[in-house]
Symmetry: C2
Subunit: 458 residues, 2 copies
């Protein structure tokens, strides 16, 4: 679709060289970390202020042109692809930490700030922002996809850590949601509605985020189990005992093998838990002791402690590199990364059935995840030149999601819907999916905000 | 308004004697714990199943008759008053705990179960439901108003502890929101939208709730401070240090005096903090020691520890009786109870300015609250026979809310909007309030679900 000349003229007048229609810029914004494909947007805009974003939305509405938000492009389900063309709004230049309120343990940031940049900025304040999806994603994108990651078991997801938003709605109206108070019961929770809305209700232009105190003491460990069920039962017992785990991650033997090869570690090739404790020095010691006792009951072995910060950093770097490690384990392969989340009592069953299904397919597909949340991933490795393998991987991912639903879970714990999971929304939500469509149309009647995503398509 | 005969006929056929149009039943459902007044509903229905609720909603929609949910009637802002008549749906008979899943730390309940009933039911499971607004409210009502209370600082509010809902929408459609997985990023967070929607989007017919492990050890204490600012600074330092306070409550000297008189305690007549620690025996001891050290830095005195459970129960009974104690401190008075929530750094200022404003009015108005959340209440005592006092109290409450907004806070931390706070919604939300109206109309185009509440009125 060609953009109307009048729109291009007005956007150029607004943004100057910060509006690009070059093939190169457009192609960069048609990339995805996955095999999901889409044509490029018609133009890319790099606004510097809420006012500019609002003007872009207003101009696009006048010409009925779609608007799609772009953070760092690390989505795993094609959220930010302009499937109906239009203007991609790249928040690269809205990357300022606007304010930090240490007493209130809050900060206000623009959407293009990444989580690592924020934590670097906070380093000397004694505070940190805990949500850690692995990728160094933008905080606007993390809010839009309701991201979580390794620390959600202790600190919650973006749902729990976004206190307020500024949002540009379709047509350019600007609203603020939430306040700086820790809680409120004043009306509909528009903050929670926007978090996870994947750009379909508006463009996030500012976030008020909860911060947490940097723990005085931290300790981490890995330990091996005879089988998956023993590892999961250990996790259930640990959580029930109320030990405030900061992280509790699972790696299957295939993931362990890939990590060992990539990161030079030598973990035993068995189901592994990776755990971390945060607290006072005494508190961490007590937590570790209690966890150790529970793990021993479930037959753990090969406990490796990482108490020094360099050892911990090496351990979590290995975990964060797991995706690349697994990708490297099949040279030339592309990955279809999929995630589901189930009630923790069903986790062992869900993982075991998924493992068996993957094994029967013949594709390599290591499994790992945030086991304290019941959330796990399969990284399905396919030969991109062989479309049969991609089809096979997609059917494995679909069965994994359907299995999660049968067990009372969800088709995605943290990656979101994007394009990849849209066909599964009806199965998860039933009649409630239509209600999402009603809300979408109430806020965006002309379907201009990230069209083609999340709600039922006409 | 008289109900159409056809509607009465169909509802009677559905419910038999569980539909009442008696003046007595109707008058009971026009009562409120506050001075907010409304006429009665035209009839009261006592459904026993989701199917019956759906049929009631469908029949009412056919005749364009309003539907209002009723839990235990403990709202402080007139949420459940049928201001436009219609059918009040009383959930008294939907009071079953449907399932408890200990491994997943979840339960499924009907909306009429009260929080105390649930905790009695859970007593032998090692689990409990922590949200504690004081009143023995129904869990459906607590979800509808996004209730919180003394333990929110540790365990969160209803926003954090409702994982999923079954909701009957206008016209009788039934949807389910959320899953039993601990987290999800699958589409709009309809659970969060429904929590706090005060019956204006639908009737909650089932709740999936998060449970928490009963703490192994509990310890509580009171301590006095020279002034409000010292008490609040102690709270800020405590929270920043990361001590996982289970409760941290503030009472001003007037509240202390009322509690002493009512409960036979003898706390010093000074600003008091009431604190509670949950954890392992060692953990509780360490938390208490660390809190004691911080409190000492801020000049605390008169530490009274309540380590035995009977002592703790006496302490929290005194706190829960504070409302009645304060009411009893002015014989014959009625109370206007109001709440606001501010960023904790502004709490001392907000409380001090409120105290001065109340003092200047000449009305008695003790202040107390959930200081760890920045949430506090004033209980304004008026002579119900003197309308000037009521007017004066309402203007104090309005100024308290406006002050909270100026400090970055919210007009209500936990009591909700109901009828009392509706005139303040525009000031808090600006353009976002209209968006709430769009959402309301998308789900309830004929304004039949608790009309007259929460959204802009035509």
């Amino acid at each position: 679709m060609a953009l109307p000349d009048a729109l291009l003229h007005d956007l150029s007048a607004l943004l100057g060289p910060r509006l690009s229609t070059s093939a190169g810029e457009r192609a960069l914004h048609a990339q995805s970390e996955t095999l999901i494909l889409s044509g490029p947007p018609d133009a890319v805009a790099y606004p510097r202020s809420t006012e500019e974003v609002a003007r872009i939305a207003a101009l696009c509405a006048r010409h009925m042109v779609p608007v799609v938000a772009w953070g760092t492009g690390t989505s795993l389900e094609g959220h930010a692809l302009a499937v109906k063309g239009g203007i991609t709004v790249d928040f690269r230049d809205m990357n300022q930490v606007l304010a930090v309120f240490p007493e209130d343990m809050l900060c206000v940031v623009q959407p293009g700030v990444t989580r690592e940049d924020l934590n670097t900025y906070l380093r000397d304040t004694g505070l940190f922002f805990p949500v850690d999806p692995g990728a160094n994603a933008s905080l606007g994108g993390m809010a839009a996809t309701r991201a979580s990651g390794t620390t959600a078991v202790r600190y919650g997801t973006m749902r729990d850590n976004v206190l307020g938003l500024e949002v540009v709605l379709a047509g350019g109206r600007v609203i603020r949601t939430g306040t700086s108070a820790p809680k409120s019961s004043a009306g509909y929770d528009l903050t929670a509605l926007m978090v996870g809305s994947e750009g379909t209700l508006g463009l996030i232009t500012e976030l008020t985020l909860r911060l947490h105190g940097q723990p005085e003491a931290v300790s981490a460990a890995t330990c091996a189990f005879a089988d998956m069920a023993a590892a999961v039962d250990c996790v259930i017992a640990t959580i029930q005992t109320g030990i405030p785990m900061a992280r509790i991650e699972f790696l299957d033997p295939a993931s362990v093998a890939a990590c060992n090869a990539f990161s030079g570690t030598s973990l035993p090739l068995a189901p592994q838990l990776m755990v971390e404790f945060h607290g006072s020095p005494k508190g961490v010691a007590e937590q570790a002791e209690r966890f150790g006792a529970i793990a021993a009951e479930y037959g753990s072995s090969g406990f490796l402690w990482a108490r020094a910060s360099e050892d911990r950093n090496r351990l979590w770097k290995m975990r964060h590199d797991a995706y690349r490690a697994i990708l490297a384990s099949r040279p030339g392969a592309s990955a279809i990364v999929t995630d589901v989340c189930v009630p923790i009592s069903s986790l062992a069953q869900a993982v075991e059935e998924t493992r068996a299904d993957i094994a029967a397919s013949g594709l390599p597909g290591p499994i790992l995840g945030h086991v304290g949340d019941g959330n796990f991933h399969a990284i399905l490795l396919v030969n991109p030149a062989d479309p049969r393998e991609t089809t096979l991987a997609k059917s494995l991912a679909t069965r994994m999601a359907e299995r999660a639903l049968q067990l009372g879970g969800t088709i995605t714990g943290e990656h979101g819907i994007g394009m990849g999971k849209l066909p599964l929304m009806a199965a998860e939500h039933g009649a409630a999916w239509a209600i999402m469509g009603h809300i979408k149309r109430a806020l965006d009647p002309h379907d201009l905000m990230n069209p083609g995503k999340l709600v039922p398509q006409k």
